[in-house]
Point group: C2
Chain length 235, copies 2
């Protein structure tokens, strides 16, 4: 049975790393004394070791040990044996490239679809969708594919931003970008604002946190959904 | 001799399409009665025909006819025979995919490097750099390569945005993204603010417009350059 948290962001403004999620994570990973962390997305180019240490410090507050996937000789076996998995944010292009390069993407998909608890934040949430076509990140490396893990039957847009009233900037709004995506791709997209997450339990997918989320379907007017909305039919 | 304008944006806030550039374009394309427009980037998913019509209306003010590359049976021959070329903005992933798919990228590179006047705005400017790794766009389609035209020996970041003071949003700033790029790529990046453009004439590359631009080099502190700065040694 799938057991997945898909969070828009790791960190809220004025909060510390993972702080707002820790009460939820204590329940979610309850019973795991150690989880595996996938640091491949390397925010600001931080090293795998430094990133893993940062995550370890956050999880130590709820008495969970963290080991980086790069510390294992065989990452595939590490994923197979993991009691829980967390993929952190950073650059989605880099993350997806590394998942393919290290040949762990199929194993990761299989173990999470069959029950290993998985937490994603930001880039680690992007990859829970069908593809990474709706990431906000800069394409700093060229991945072998944009196909991702498909834990849900739609795409994720984390750090969703509403158009800024009065902005004089001429770059595209997030909504314009997702509209362009729908000219070439059929699947719905959920815009998850910072502070929101999806809780996937078996077939159920529920919006969590205090904010609404925005749903974009091809050829339809986007709309908001409220916390606790069941999203299993979004596909 | 190369003769290229690389503009951050087509349109300024409160201005009409290409309005701020028209006096410059009148000089730049002087002597061309017709140019070819490449509408592949399709902003907001606009059709090739509609996009070409919009561009034609702007260029009619300076008595230049515009024909879309999609109107020609053989786009390669069209590029070879063009008296001037304009590639408009939209989605860089889509633009680059279409340049490869229609097999025009090599011809476009060759004719512009040997003298056909070329104007790019936004996505059409991104492709003037060595690669499209520093685009701001959403990866709505998967191009066969991120390699682009290399009219200059660095990368372009159009619509450059300074960090927003007081922002509570946790997504990466533009500077953070370019810093991540430099962990994996050696070439400098120029952040071109809206209203700025580069004028390439032969070996010379000068910053134009009223604003400074921001230069990012690997392992160096970013710095500003003023209008009329010669950038031919940026590589």
């Amino acid at each position: 049975m799938k057991n997945i948290l898909i969070a828009s962001t790791s960190t809220l403004h004025n909060g510390s790393y993972l702080e707002y999620l820790l009460p939820e994570l204590q329940l979610f990973f309850g019973g795991c004394s150690e989880i595996i962390f996938i640091p491949y997305a390397r925010p600001s180019g931080i090293s795998h070791d430094d990133y893993t240490q940062k995550v370890g410090e956050a999880f130590s507050k709820i008495n969970i040990q963290v080991k980086g996937i790069h510390e294992f000789e065989d990452p595939i076996t590490a994923i197979k044996n993991a009691k829980g998995i967390f993929t952190g944010g950073g650059n989605t292009f880099l993350l997806v490239s590394q998942l393919y390069k290290n040949n762990v993407i199929d194993t990761l998909e299989r173990v999470v679809k069959t029950g290993t608890p998985y937490l994603g934040t930001s880039a680690g949430s992007n990859i829970c969708g069908l593809t990474m076509h709706t990431t906000n990140d800069m394409p700093i490396v060229y991945p072998p594919s944009f196909r991702t893990l498909g834990f849900v039957s739609f795409n994720i847009n984390p750090h969703y931003l509403d158009p800024i009233a009065g902005s004089t900037h001429m770059g595209e709004t997030r909504e314009t970008r997702i509209n362009e995506f729908h000219h070439f791709n059929p699947q719905p997209v959920i815009g998850l604002r910072e502070g929101s997450w999806l809780a996937v339990k078996g077939e159920s997918i529920k919006l969590k946190g205090e904010l609404t989320a925005r749903i974009f379907k091809r050829n339809e007017i986007p709309y908001e959904v409220t916390p606790e909305t069941e999203l299993k039919d979004l596909k």
